[in-house]
Assembly symmetry: C2
Homo-oligomer: 404 residues x 2
């Protein structure tokens, strides 16, 4: 498996485009994106469990009920959520794509991201879709990745190539962060494309399994969004033998998918609102997978630990505190905690108690911008990772006045 | 019922003291406090559910197993948690009190608050306890309330007097905030004193019932502390007919206790780390009490809403979002949301959808320092309140470098 460029356009048969149509005031960022496959795709998706759901999710669910999609349209700057005419607007967005490309409106995945509860004016989208469709290209992935950004400071793209029984295949993806991120059985907006031939059932299985250990283990601020979804479109153009069961090719596909989703998780975490550091909590020695996950997630979500990491303060008591309230069944008197970065690794807590360590060395390690928090529960064989970021002045600044 | 001064010394027979003994570097704040009752008290307590528990909690639990206590010693500046010698140190603190007052070490409630995982040196405490005991006085409540403060900017005291069958009784209390506050079946440090005569069983029932709707509905930052507890000491010196059942006197006592606990909740919320605003979420029209509580707590805990409140931004979409992920069974298409303060009230969302409202008026309301978020679920008769504060630059500042 190797990393390649091209994002959502890396796989055979996929093109993309993105433009500024006027939903956002800031003209330096695109606000409307399109992904298109020249052949119909098998489609799988997972959605937010927030009871307040963006209208585009309702429309997308309906559209891919038959397991088929061929295009994705997504705007930023407005979530089209909690609006009385939300469904109508989302349906119009699909219809506009259908009018300009040789596909049915029912084969369009629709997504929106941005402010909740403000009416989404269809006019700028209506005016822009013809151009958006005409400008679809194999190098349009950058424009598309740019068009789904909200408070993101960088776009998030990844692609890998790998072989299935000797046939070269590709998976690519793009994602947007960067606040209201605390996925629960789903995630933020992620669009994944692949040329692998795979049944809808196995594609959905791959996605639903993978997100349990990737996007569902990511938290920026504890707020599960109303508009989260991840979709995968697979157009089969790699011409591999179609995956229809849990065979070796499926396992290889799962690995490739996982490298894409973990890569996007880390990018989203690193670009969390206001973040200066990407945090990864690696829990080992757990008595079960669920204990490992609960502990990793609890640590990564602690506001106090996040603020301590911003200050490069080796305040491991906050790690123990977060483990203690995680509801996971752990023996707190066995826990070891270390911090690791490119500057080295330092143990700061052993068997749940304080030990002597060099504050100077700890500071040096924690001043880096990618920090691992290592928790060994010494109680079994299970492990888990979770990703997040530090809590900074800029998070407050960004969210203290987001709408105006 | 009327508010009176005196805090934990307001009730008959209670005295208190507080001094700076040297655990904290900052000499302008006390770091060691004592409360004493001239007669033995019926004692009740609730403790944090965090699996990582401060050693003082273990010792206190053991000491009040027989339902009796006569003094409280509490230090700030060090939580005495995750230390190998924690229990020993906490026992020494009790023993020191016993050596200087005519009571047994087993009748002392011990508490500590501050940094986790740093050894607590007994020496300064040992040197200070004789003076601490000698300086006990009826006006020592201010010194004592000062001595339990950590990052608190103001001390938190309250007292009320009320009548039980014609006999004047008093309840007073003191609390410390102001970070790592997300109580779960317990709370931060709160010491309540009363001269009411009441059985241990009924006192524990009163406390355990009350906290479900008071301290358990308070969150500053989502982090449940390792050292939380609330204790009530009742010395019976009001000479009312002893409360031993759920009679009218018990109901009156519950009301008085509730006015003390709600008062302390609001003080803690208003003085949350870095807070500029106290937030109160009042949920009405819920189909059950548990729905009302889940919704109120979820709204008050949302980092995004907390940041919006700091910016006086009427971003009601974040209220809806937090209700949506609360796991409570609500009909999101029925929800009304309003904001209220001393400057008035404004409805910003009706039936889960956006409505026109004056942004200018909303700003004026939200610029005040006590904000109510009113959520009407229009689905039943139950209601609940929760308290919290805004998320500010100073929260990050305080917690980015707490230990040094």
């Amino acid at each position: 498996m190797k990393k390649i460029s091209g994002g959502v356009c890396a796989a055979k048969g996929f093109t993309a485009s993105g433009i500024h149509c006027g939903i956002r005031k800031d003209k330096t960022k695109n606000d409307l994106s399109l992904i298109y496959s020249e052949k119909p795709c098998t489609a799988a998706a997972v959605y937010t469990t927030n009871l307040v759901k963006g209208a585009p999710l309702t429309v997308t669910k309906e559209h891919i009920k038959n397991g088929i999609a061929q295009a994705v349209i997504c705007n930023s700057g407005n979530a089209n959520t909690c609006n009385a005419d939300g469904i109508e607007i989302a349906e119009k967005m699909s219809a506009l794509v259908s009018e300009n490309l040789p596909i049915s409106a029912e084969d369009v995945v629709v997504a929106s991201t941005g402010v909740i509860g403000q009416k989404l004016d269809i006019t700028p989208i209506q005016e822009a879709v013809p151009t958006l469709c005409k400008s679809l290209s194999k190098s349009g992935n950058d424009d598309a990745a740019n068009g789904i950004m909200t408070t993101d400071t960088v776009d998030k793209q990844i692609a890998v190539s790998f072989e299935l029984s000797g046939i070269e295949c590709t998976i690519g993806g793009m994602a947007k962060g960067s606040g209201m991120i605390h996925p629960d059985m789903a995630t933020m907006l992620v669009f994944i494309t692949t040329d692998v031939a795979i049944s809808q059932e196995m594609l959905q299985k791959a996605l639903s399994t993978d997100i349990q250990n990737t996007f569902n283990m990511l938290s920026i601020d504890g707020d599960t969004s109303t508009n989260d979804m991840v979709t995968v479109l697979a157009n089969g153009m790699a011409e591999n033998e179609k995956i229809t069961s849990d065979n070796d090719d499926f396992k290889t596909f799962m690995k490739a998918l996982n490298s894409v989703t973990v890569g996007l998780c880390k990018m989203i975490a690193a670009d969390g609102e206001g973040a200066t550091k990407m945090l990864e909590c690696n829990v080992s020695g757990a008595s079960s997978k669920s204990v490992a996950k609960a502990v990793a997630k609890s640590v990564i979500c602690s506001s106090l630990l996040k603020a301590a990491m911003f200050g490069a303060d080796a305040n491991w008591g906050r790690v123990l505190c977060a483990i203690g309230y995680s509801k996971a069944d752990v023996d707190v008197n066995k826990i070891d905690v270390s911090f690791r970065s490119s500057k080295g690794e330092i143990k700061v807590c052993e068997n749940g108690h304080s030990i002597d360590f060099s504050e100077e060395k700890a500071k040096e390690i924690l001043l880096e911008n990618e920090i691992e928090i290592l928790v060994d529960l010494k109680d079994g064989e299970f492990s888990s990772s979770a990703w997040g970021c530090d809590l900074t002045y800029d998070y407050v600044k960004i969210n203290g006045d987001y709408r105006t």
